[in-house]
């Protein structure tokens, strides 16, 4: 297990380093002078040049990258261009909102997707199975921003049951939860389908296994066989899928944060790109990249812990 853990950690560090290189290169391929965009129309050429120097844009690109690389590994993501606030602070202020949104989406998708998948597998070939199949594909096919807009129009604008914008009062958990309902549905609904399909496929395979047949032969109750013996094995591919799913939810979160005017890292990155706020873009994307890599690392380690075959392959 130690060898497996170290190899996954090494891979994670490599992925983050490559991501930093790609991120830095992409930022510099975007046209537009960040100093001019940041300072607006009334800035003089001298002021723009001063800001370029302050942002380090006058230095050779490789020097800029090296500084960024070294500082980032030390946790220093620089300061925001205009307000001069530390980027790490700005990102960490927004991160809880995005994490709450993703967690909310994940709760919906797991709470609905796993039982639906199990039910469809147990009722294989029945009308219920076909209905779950159709619904799963339907929710996968609908983009999250469409879900977001319709959910907002129905539940916030027409019925006025739920708020349309914002994240709730910072010191009021109930208000935050109410504000989380619609965005988390928008982010998580598609994943109900993915998880249901994945769980159904895994369950069908496991339900045919020898130990399940043996359990049936011993006359154990169906529920115990399904949830205690079959699901614990069938869930493994789903855990890996959830790691990837969280990454995809991060990108869906951008739409949800814009449509519901929620604070969050997705919206922060979107705004920072439009204003060419390079330190903020690199810092925010880097934090989410690290988060994504960490989540996948944890998913890999869980799978490794549960399945000895995975550990032994390293």
């Amino acid at each position: 297990m130690l060898h497996y853990t170290l190899s996954r950690l090494g891979l994670a560090v490599l992925i983050v380093s490559v991501a930093m290189l790609i991120l830095f290169s992409m930022i510099y391929l975007i046209p537009g002078d960040p100093a001019a965009v940041a300072l607006g129309p009334r800035a003089t050429a001298a002021m723009r040049e001063a800001l370029r120097i302050k942002m380090g844009l006058d230095q050779p690109v490789w020097v800029q990258f090296w500084n960024f690389f070294i500082n980032a590994w030390q946790g220093d993501l620089g300061n925001e261009v205009l307000s001069d606030r530390p980027v790490s602070r700005v990102v960490l202020e927004q991160l809880p909102y995005t994490l709450a949104l993703i967690a909310g989406g994940m709760v919906w998708s797991v709470a609905l997707g796993i039982p639906l998948g199990c039910w469809a597998a147990v009722k294989r070939g029945s009308l219920a199975d076909r209905l779950v199949g159709v619904l799963s594909v339907a929710v996968i096919a609908v983009p999250s921003f469409v879900v977001a807009i319709y959910a907002l129009l129905i539940f916030a604008v027409s019925l006025r049951w739920l708020p349309a914008i914002g994240a709730g009062e910072p010191d009021d958990l109930g208000d935050q939860l109410v504000h989380l309902i619609l965005p988390s549905i928008a982010v998580g609904l598609g994943w109900v389908g993915y998880i249901a399909r994945m769980v159904r496929a895994s369950m069908l395979e496991v339900l045919e296994a020898q130990h399940i047949r043996t359990a049936r032969a011993f006359g154990l109750p169906d529920n115990q066989i399904t949830y205690q013996y079959a699901l614990t094995i069938a869930i493994l591919p789903t855990i890996t899928l959830l790691g990837v799913g969280i990454g995809q939810m991060l990108s869906s979160a951008v739409f949800a944060e814009i449509v519901f005017a929620r604070p969050g890292v997705g919206k922060l990155v979107y705004d920072a790109i439009l204003t060419r706020n390079y330190p903020l873009v690199t810092g925010a994307v880097l934090v989410t990249t690290v988060l994504f890599v960490l989540i996948n690392l944890v998913a890999d380690l869980i799978v490794g812990a549960l399945d000895p075959r995975v550990r032994s392959s390293f």
Binding site: I30, P31, G32, D33, P34, A36, V37, L39, G40, P41, R42, A43, T44, A45, A46, M47, R48, A50, L82, S83, D84, R85, V90, E93, Q94, P96, Y97, A100, L152, L153, A156, V157, R160, W161, L162, P163, A164, I165, G166, A167, P170, L173, G174, D175, Q176, L177, V178, I258, V259, F260, A261, P263, G264, K267, L268, D271, I273, L274, T275, R276
Partner: protein, 518 residues
């Protein structure tokens, strides 16, 4: 700013969630300002800099003038006028001298004492100081010095006559008074933590990207703010803000122009839809230094090829009228017509005369739905006269640097659909098209010495009839250059609860301190 998710048991969490769920289903949400205590409105961006001399956006300027008392502020209503805030009196003694006396009971917070004429001198001279490198130094470009007469009064001496002083300098954040002592102690510009506030409201809380809360200043002894608190929610997308209003989460918001007809036809219950004339101007520009557009006959052909009415109707769903220049109606220099009409036959003839049949051009636009609709009609109009037009959409970061001489694209720029906003003085529109602005904001590279002379005459001419003549002549020169097809001044749309009375400038820009309960 934290999310307090800890310290809650599973049982209490479920109980709270259940109770909230039931409550939200049982009771539809209501407007927030109904009790007259809290006003919730939308701004299109979050705050970054609350320093009057370094503000970055209109919403920041609005907040700054609410928390740092300005000498004067625009009068809310339909005509451009101003009213005193921090001054008891202010008057122009002659062309180059303005006398002022402060009210004698305005104080700064944080223990910085009473506002004095020394603070006025510091605040105004700070704007104009070249060492400060304020982007708004031009507002006080005519300043010679501020002379302190006594504790509360002084004289503003100008180097030369400066007519926009009373329209676009004093009634803006450029007349906000900061505490000299506080600023010297700070030693830097103000960002998001204001020191020594003095306005009708105080910045009470800022939750980044979520809300800014202004609270009524308890020590303000003059006309009070209309609400105990103003909550300002940053929402970039106007459609999101409109949905937020319809859901009862906002009391006031700007709307997109294209939403105005829909909202007017079917306004949400208990709301009022406003339409205000905008000062902005939208035009199709042509880069006269681009190889394909160097011949003025080609540019004039494009002027005649564009059906401006169709372009504006398509872009704004009939909500905006066609404009005839860069100066909005109601200001000196506003025109009733342009010198080119929609005449495709004439356009074809001019193109043939210039040997430019089969011309292909690019049209750069900002990636907004209104601009794209306008561009598509322009594309069709040009196709009708045999010109192929390729539309290039740009995000805002790219778009606003396309014509800058520091970039590598400015000479390839051909047609461009632009929109500028302005302050209520014609010089604010004409300044961007002077020869000095070529490659800065004059992307058409229109270069006319007579235009520049007229612009400078306009700055010192106080007779409105003469100013009207000057600015009309300047726009005539722009017509003649063939570089411009003037499209519209747009319109500003807003929607508010009928329980409030918004404080708005004639062009629809908000004045936070002037919002009242209805």
């Amino acid at each position: 700013m934290t999310m307090n998710l800890s310290g809650v048991s599973r049982r209490s969490f479920l109980a709270a969630a259940g109770a909230f769920g039931a409550a939200t289903v049982a009771v539809p949400r209501m407007a927030l300002s109904q009790d007259g205590k809290v006003l919730t409105l939308r701004s299109y961006s979050d705050i970054q800099v609350l320093d009057p001399a370094f503000r970055l956006s209109l919403p920041e300027g609005d907040i700054i003038t609410a928390i740092f008392a300005p000498m004067v502020t625009p009068q809310p209503g339909d005509t451009w006028d101003w009213k005193a805030v921090a001054v008891d009196s202010i008057e122009q003694l002659d062309d180059v001298t303005v006398a002022f006396t402060l009210k004698d009971n305005i104080g700064f917070t944080d223990g910085y004492g009473q506002m004095t004429a020394e603070d006025v001198k510091f605040s105004i001279e700070r704007f104009a100081d070249p060492a400060m490198e304020s982007p708004y130094a031009g507002d006080w470009s005519a300043l010679k010095e501020v002379e302190v007469k006594d504790k509360l009064s002084g004289l503003i001496h100008l180097k030369n006559k400066f007519v926009p002083l009373w329209t676009t300098t004093l009634p803006t954040a450029a007349s906000c008074i900061l505490s000299k002592r506080a600023m010297e102690e700070l030693g830097d510009k103000i960002t998001t933590k204001p020191v020594a506030q003095s306005g009708q409201y105080l910045l009470a809380e800022w939750v980044p990207k979520q809300k800014t809360i202004l609270r009524r200043n308890p020590d303000w002894q003059h006309e009070p703010g209309g609400f105990d608190e103003i909550h300002i929610i940053p929402i970039e997308d106007p459609a999101t803000a409109e949905r937020g209003f319809e859901a009862g989460d906002l009391d006031y918001t700007w709307t997109s122009v294209s939403s105005i007809p829909r909202l007017k036809e079917n306004p949400p219950a208990g709301s009022v839809v406003l339409e205000k004339p905008s000062l902005a101007y939208v035009w199709l520009g042509m880069n006269q230094d681009n190889e394909a557009l160097k011949d003025v006959r080609i540019r004039r052909a494009i002027q005649h090829a564009i059906d401006r009415t169709s372009v504006v109707d398509a872009a704004y769903f009939g909500a905006a009228a066609v404009g005839n220049g860069i100066i909005a109606p109601g200001l000196p220099g506003s025109r009733d017509s342009v010198t080119y009409d929609y005449d495709p036959d004439k356009a074809r003839a001019l193109l043939a005369e210039a040997g430019a049949e089969g011309l292909t051009v690019t049209l750069d636009i900002l990636n907004q739905s209104e601009r794209l609709s306008a561009a598509q009609v322009i594309q069709a109009n040009l196709a009708d006269v045999g010109v192929t037009c390729e539309i290039k959409q740009n995000d805002s970061g790219t778009f606003w640097t396309l014509g800058a001489k520091e970039g590598d694209y400015f000479m390839n720029l051909q047609l461009i659909l632009s929109r500028f906003s302005m302050q209520p003085d014609p010089s604010w529109a004409t300044v961007w098209f002077t020869p000095e602005q070529v490659g800065v904001w004059n992307w058409e590279r229109f270069n006319n010495a007579e235009y520049k002379d007229l612009h400078e005459q306009g700055l010192v001419e106080s007779d409105n009839a003469k100013r009207d003549e000057i600015y009309k002549k300047m726009q005539g020169l722009m017509d003649e250059s063939g570089c411009y097809v003037f499209l519209t001044h747009e319109v500003v749309g807003a929607i508010h609860r009928d329980t409030i009375q918004p404080g708005l400038k004639p062009n629809g820009e908000s004045l936070l301190a002037e919002f009242k309960s209805a």
